[in-house]
């Protein structure tokens, strides 16, 4: 058994509260959560829907309901400020990508690559999700209450991904940081070639990937899991303390041991 120890290169950055202005983008909109509206995405193209969201945010709307998304691709992408967005329906591929800050509640299903490169905020999906769920996630909480496809959190660099049901193969492939929670069964090659980060699994694991190893559950893990799951109305089927914890064995870690000249050769 291994005990997780954060080591090696870190991508964590620390900010002082007095530097708050750096957390906002120059083009971010000032919105008021009490200012509410809704619109019908049914007759609109993906671009028109995203432009409509920008228009509403520019008018100060902080709570928006999108109706009839019709599983269109690339909806609700690139939102870089606070926003409470409820999507009454399902999204196609690449929904909610490249967002930084909004809280999005999707009442249907999402296709491949939902919340890719998400930086902050929350995305909560009531039904199922496709593959590459939360690819390259950097921050925030991405939660699917149903089943998800393969390669969940591939290349994730931070944040939290929670799957209420089953997940497919190669979840956490090349994971570099962050936490992944799978309450159901996990497919084969779980955590393959992961560098860092932690994966918790409540069901059966079909197989671990290269350099992914079981680790000891600590009280801190259990407390964190219980607190996080409660936020989204979820529970571990056999209790948080009985979940399995997977982390990187770090046998593949050799980059930091290289001399500068050797690193140059690799780069």
């Amino acid at each position: 058994m291994h005990t997780e120890q954060l080591a090696g290169r870190s991508q964590q950055r620390f900010f002082r509260p007095e530097e708050e202005e750096r957390f906002t983008y120059p083009q971010a909109f000032e919105v008021d959560f009490k200012k509410r509206t809704q619109f019908d995405a049914g007759p609109m193209s993906s671009s028109e829907v995203n432009l409509k969201l920008r228009e509403l945010m520019s008018q100060g709307y902080g709570t928006v309901v999108m109706k009839n998304p019709g599983a269109k691709h690339s909806l609700a992408v690139g939102i870089l400020n606070r926003l409470n967005l409820t999507i009454e329906g399902s999204l196609g591929y690449f929904g909610c990508g490249l967002i930084d800050g909004p809280n999005i509640h999707i009442k249907g299903r999402v296709g491949w690559s939902c919340a890719e490169n998400m930086l902050a905020g929350t995305v909560l999906i009531e039904k199922n999700a496709g593959s590459t769920f939360g690819a390259a996630l950097r921050g925030g909480d991405l939660v699917c209450k149903g089943d998800v496809g393969a390669r969940v959190g591939i290349d994730m660099k931070g944040g939290t991904i929670i799957t209420g049901g089953r997940a497919g193969a190669f979840c956490g492939f090349m994971m570099q940081r962050g936490r992944m929670v799978i309450l159901g069964d996990a497919g084969k090659n779980l955590g393959d070639s992961m560098y860092d980060g932690t994966i918790y699994v409540g069901g059966k694991i079909a197989g671990l990937g290269v350099d992914a190893v079981p680790a000891e559950m600590t009280d801190l893990d259990v407390q964190w899991l219980e607190r996080k799951l409660k936020l989204y109305g979820l529970e571990a089927p056999k209790g948080a303390k009985n979940m399995q914890k997977i982390c990187a064995g770090r046998q593949l870690w050799n980059y930091d041991n290289l001399e500068p000249a050797e690193k140059k050769l690799i780069l």
């Binding site: 599983a71 299903r109 491949w112 593959s131 390669r151 089953r166 190669f170």
Partner: protein, 311 residues
């Protein structure tokens, strides 16, 4: 990239021509080069429907002789069918170069197929009791209009929108593929097989012929070969997960069944909707929504998964 779609009505029939056209048109962005359908209608007893072409679409705009040649080729095929004691019950000319014959024939299908395809330019698209395979260049609306597919009543169908990557933009390389020489078996595929040539050579040594250099054709022939040896459709598909190498999601249809298989990497997409009366699958949910515009529950099949549904 390519887009694939399939649907099956449970215990009833529907306008599968219109339904599949809607699904494929919504997948046009995944492949605009060609569109193909394998539609399964109600069989007419032991009669067979044979769909064939005698030229490629782009040949028709090259020179003046081709227009006479397609007529000569069609006449020669009619002569050869008569020679093999196949009785032509009905003839339809879908386009100048593609035809649909309803025939009565109880002989050897392989011999029939080989003899017809021996005619210059002739290629059989399908032979079956219920199967009718239509494929041509252009998007779904264009092909459906060209071949009058709206109103085609049947039990199930599969279809394909193609983005050509490794073989030509022509009808020969378009999907679906009929599993020569086995009646009523067709396949559409999204992905790439990396052991195509080895697999093809093995099947050729067993006497099977290939009309294209498209890896997807091998899946059809592989499955039909396994079934001819006594395997069930589901067992043949499970075998394919082990024996076919590469990334793939494919759909296969037989006279009464629709099946799907996904490789062990789950690298190619597939979304599935299942209800008591209808099953629909597609590369993207937006295709299923073209048939069911209201909110529905869908999910992704998992790696190495094989499923088969019967009408």
């Amino acid at each position: 990239m390519c887009g694939i779609a399939g649907l099956i009505h449970r215990g009833r029939t529907g306008d599968v021509g219109r339904e599949m056209t809607a699904m494929l048109q919504s997948l046009k962005h995944r492949g605009p080069d060609s569109t193909g359908y394998a539609l399964y209608g109600k069989p007419h007893g032991k009669e067979l429907v044979i769909r064939f072409k005698v030229a490629e679409q782009d040949e028709m705009s090259k020179g003046f002789k081709i227009h006479d040649q397609v007529k000569e080729r069609r006449s020669e095929i009619e002569r050869r069918l008569a020679e093999l004691e196949a009785k032509i019950i009905e003839e339809d000319m879908a386009t100048e170069y593609a035809f649909r014959f309803r025939i009565a024939f109880d002989g050897d299908l392989r011999r029939l197929a080989n003899y017809i395809e021996d005619v210059e330019g002739a290629e059989i698209l399908s032979i079956g009791h219920g199967l009718e395979l239509i494929k041509d260049l252009g998007d779904a609306d264009h092909v459906a209009g060209q071949y009058s597919l709206g109103g085609f009543v049947g039990t199930h169908a599969i279809g394909h929108t193609r983005m050509a990557t490794e073989s030509d933009v022509d009808i020969r390389s378009a999907h679906p593929y009929w599993a020569y020489p086995f009646a009523d078996v067709s396949v559409v595929h999204n992905g790439q097989l990396t052991n195509y040539w080895n697999g093809r050579r093995a099947l050729e040594r067993r006497g099977h012929r290939f009309v294209s250099n498209c890896d997807s054709e091998m899946i059809a022939v592989y499955l039909a070969d396994k079934m001819a040896q006594g395997a069930t459709l589901e067992d043949a598909m499970k075998g394919s997960i082990e024996e076919l190498d590469g990334v793939f999601t494919y759909l296969v249809a037989t006279s009464d069944s629709l099946g799907m298989a996904k490789d062990t990497m789950a690298a190619k997409p597939m979304v599935l909707y299942e209800s008591d009366r209808f099953i629909a699958l597609a590369s993207e949910e937006v295709a299923i929504r073209s048939v069911f515009p209201h909110e529905i529950d869908t999910f992704d099949p998992y790696e190495g998964e094989v499923r088969v549904w019967k009408n």
